[in-house]
């Protein structure tokens, strides 16, 4: 018998439906998806109860794609078509990738981001990462029973803009609404800080499979504030495997290896590394395709010696982060360890000696990032009422600059600036009748452009022709809460909005993404139209909900005409939503967005006024 639920008018038991939101840790070695259920964050396991998804993708000749354990099982047999640690290639060019000679792939040297030729065609790291994300999305949808409202995807704090953009593109390609890119150490701090009700300054030491981050955060009730961050986006547990691998090749005096043998020994090296966390010695045995047999044993001392420089390499960024924060080791109240590679005893020791205190290990270093991301996704989806949620203030890890005369980089936004942040610059024309200008944006701390990472070149077009020096072009560089850059430009004397064409140096142009989206649909036999329809419906639904709640709070801020035009726009969207015309829905969404533009601005002003009013009265 169904129970009758009784509720008084205006006291509905569920003010709105709980939105399905997830946090995804897209790791170099393993990936995870987590969500918050009944106020508790939990990792969602696969059908066999396994929480981790190995970040391994295998492409078959027939176009079939295997992800995770099945791909892992075949990696030594089919190394060329089985991509591991794809995160290392995100937003990177061929010459940026360390130890590329030891990677068994058929790289395609294209300008921009490196690509890999597989049995199923040439794939970019964005597409490969999207395969991993798709599996996690499906896992979450099956487990939560429906489409996801959105996802938070974590990235290393030290990822540059190109690497972040690549990650967000992968999310989009996997059909996720990416609510936010969240820095991994910050995610860990959320999970740790809320679990332990911590207050004060904390360091998060995050050594993952392929990246190293150190972040210093100030934790207080309801606020997570990143004070400084540093790291090395090309240093991680993989490099420790690599050292063992080189040691094996040297000890066994092996000739140059084929792709399969190389992968086999890399797998064995990783296993030995993991074994050494709990044992004093680890065996390494393998039968190679050449008939050679490797039968070695490595002890902890040797392992420590051959990896000592790697551990040392993490100390520099730690000192730099402390300096940037203006702090000494004595100011730090605790050090949270994140990432599977922090299990290595020599890493624990080095961090303990540096901070002169034992690191905190009470959360699973493999899961803490995904759990924190799930908690943040829950807040971003609006599942937590104001007052019970928290505020997260993060920073940009590397300075942004523009190229000036003589190949110098002029800093426009300094590293460790709290985001969102923006900077405007004014330029003028140097030739009569000049209608265009070009710019080069870079990221990094060095003075020479050649020593920084090129992010994008962009061109301004449509400046009205004038005499030299008369045009005043104002270029605005805006870094959003994801750490992504947006450029806009305006000619000030005429008010003409100059068009900006951005060519990302390592990222993908919008057209590439569109093509990949189309390809993935064709491959999956999904209907492009149906997909677009679902997306715009979700969008429209969300906008209607947001507008209704805005009206119920602040309708008094509206004049009659404005209220009328918003109501009309809402009505027409409501009518179109159940229909099948995705273009019409999109137009109605745009119209409602336009109709609420001024209202949104005023609501925001009102919010600030309210926040300050208590104080104003108090100081009178």
């Amino acid at each position: 018998m169904a129970l009758l639920q009784i509720s008084e008018p205006g006291m509905s038991p569920a003010p709105h439906e709980h939105r399905r939101a997830v946090g995804i840790d897209l790791g170099t070695t393993n990936s995870l998806v987590a969500t918050v259920r009944s106020a508790t964050p939990a990792v969602l396991p696969d059908a066999l109860g396994r929480p981790l998804l190995p970040s391994i993708v295998r492409y078959g000749k027939d176009g079939a794609v295997e992800v995770g354990y099945p791909a892992q099982a075949k990696q030594a047999l089919d190394p060329r078509n089985t991509v591991v640690s794809v995160k290392r290639f995100m937003g990177r060019g061929l010459k940026d990738v360390a130890h590329i000679e030891n990677a068994p792939y058929d790289f395609v040297d294209a300008p921009g981001m490196v690509q890999i030729r597989t049995a199923a065609g040439v794939k970019s790291p964005v597409e490969i990462s999207a395969e991993i994300l798709k599996v996690l999305r499906q896992r979450a949808e099956a487990s939560l029973g429906g489409d996801l409202t959105g996802a938070v995807i974590t990235v290393p704090a030290y990822f540059d803009e190109a690497q972040r953009q690549a990650t967000k593109d992968a999310g989009r390609l996997a059909g996720l609404n990416v609510l936010r890119l969240l820095n991994e150490p910050t995610a860990a701090a959320i999970a740790y800080g809320l679990e332990n009700a911590s207050e004060g300054l904390y360091a998060v030491y995050d050594l993952g499979g392929g990246t190293f981050d150190i972040s210093i955060l100030r934790l207080s009730r309801g606020l997570f504030e990143v004070v400084a961050t540093s790291g090395d986006s090309m240093l991680g547990g993989d490099d420790f495997d690599q050292r063992v691998f080189c040691w094996v090749v040297e000890q066994a005096k092996l000739p140059p290896l084929g792709a399969r043998d190389m992968r086999l020994l890399q797998v064995r090296s990783r296993e030995a590394k993991e074994h050494l966390t709990y044992h004093g010695e680890a065996p390494i045995t393998a039968k190679l395709s050449t008939g050679d047999v490797v039968d070695l044993s490595i002890d902890s001392e040797t392992f420590c010696n051959i990896t000592q420089t790697l551990v040392q390499k993490t100390l520099g960024p730690m000192r730099k982060a402390l300096r940037d924060a203006g702090l000494g080791v004595e100011d730090v109240k605790g050090v949270v360890m994140v990432g599977g590679a922090t299990r290595m005893p020599q890493v624990q020791r080095a961090v303990g000696e540096f901070f002169r205190r034992d690191p905190l290990n009470n959360l699973d270093p493999d899961k803490v990032v995904a759990l924190g991301a799930a908690m943040q996704a829950n807040v971003l989806a609006g599942n937590k009422p104001q007052g019970e949620d928290w505020l997260l203030l993060d920073v940009i890890p590397l300075s942004l600059g523009v190229e000036t005369m003589g190949g110098l980089a002029e800093k426009i936004i300094a590293r460790n600036t709290t985001i969102p942040a923006a900077k405007a610059q004014e330029f003028t024309t140097f030739k009569d009748g000049q209608t265009g200008m070009s710019f080069h944006v870079v990221q990094g701390e060095r003075e020479l452009v050649a020593d920084c990472r090129s992010l994008a070149r962009f061109e301004l077009k449509g400046i009205p022709p004038m005499v030299a020096g008369a045009a005043r072009v104002r270029v605005t560089y805006q870094v959003d809460a994801d750490g992504l850059l947006h450029v806009s430009a305006k000619e000030n004397s005429s008010g003409v909005e100059a068009s900006v064409v951005v060519k990302p140096s390592y990222g993908l142009a919008d057209a590439d993404i569109e093509r990949m989206l189309r390809d993935s649909f064709e491959h999956a036999n999904e209907d492009v139209h149906a997909r677009a329809l679902t997306e715009y419906r979700v969008d429209g639904q969300r906008l209607l909900e947001a507008t209704r709640s805005a009206l119920s709070q602040d309708e008094k801020l509206l004049g009659n005409d404005e209220r009328e035009s918003i109501r009309t726009a809402m009505l027409s969207l409501e009518k179109l939503l159940p229909g099948n015309d995705h273009r019409a829905i999109k137009r109605a969404v745009d119209a409602l967005n336009r109709a609420t533009e001024d209202f949104a601005q005023r609501r925001m002003d009102e919010g600030v006024r309210r926040a300050l009013s208590g104080k104003m009265i108090g100081s009178l």
């Binding site: 939105r19 409202t149 959105g150 609510l179 936010r180 606020l223 100390l315 520099g316 000192r319 730099k320 300096r323 940037d324 943040q376 807040v379 971003l380 989806a381 609006g382 104001q386 505020l391 997260l392 203030l393 600036t417 709290t418 985001i419 969102p420 942040a421 923006a422 805006q478 959003d480 809460a481 969300r542 906008l543 947001a546 507008t547 805005a550 409602l592 967005n593 336009r594 609420t596 533009e597 209202f599 949104a600 601005q601 609501r603 925001m604 919010g607 600030v608 309210r610 926040a611 300050l612 104080k615 104003m616 100081s619």
Partner: protein, 171 residues
Amino acid sequence: MQNHFELFGLVPAYALELEALEKSYREIQAQVHPDRFAHAGDAERRASLQWTTRVNESYRTLKDPVQRGRHLLELHGVDVAFETNTQMPTEFLMQQLELREELEAAAANKDSSRLDGLRSRLRLQKKELENEIAQAIDGKKDYGGAAELVRKLMFLDRLDSEIDVAYEEIE
């Protein structure tokens, strides 16, 4: 021109009410931050981005001793003129020269404890300068005099960031 103090409900003064500033900053962020609008419509997200960017910039300006001084003086109609006015008293320049020589020597010898010493001396000088600026602006209302002090402080700031570079090179 926008008044960064007003945004946080503060009385314009060089001596900063840090606690009040931080409290207002958090309260405003709690209202406008993009995390509050991740599931809202485009219009609200745009407004939120603009507001947060502005609040962050004002906060950064006020927290930075050089930028705070420059902003306050601008509010009083005095241009600090970092770019055009590089005239400094000889005594100050000599002192700077000495500090720079010390920095170069420490960097050349890869002597981080010498860098530590230099840094703590510099930080002390900066603190003293900040006190002088507060007296000049908040007390004596000598804005012309304060402008020179702020320029001096900027010199010391530059040296400070060069010490950072030296540390990085040593590591």
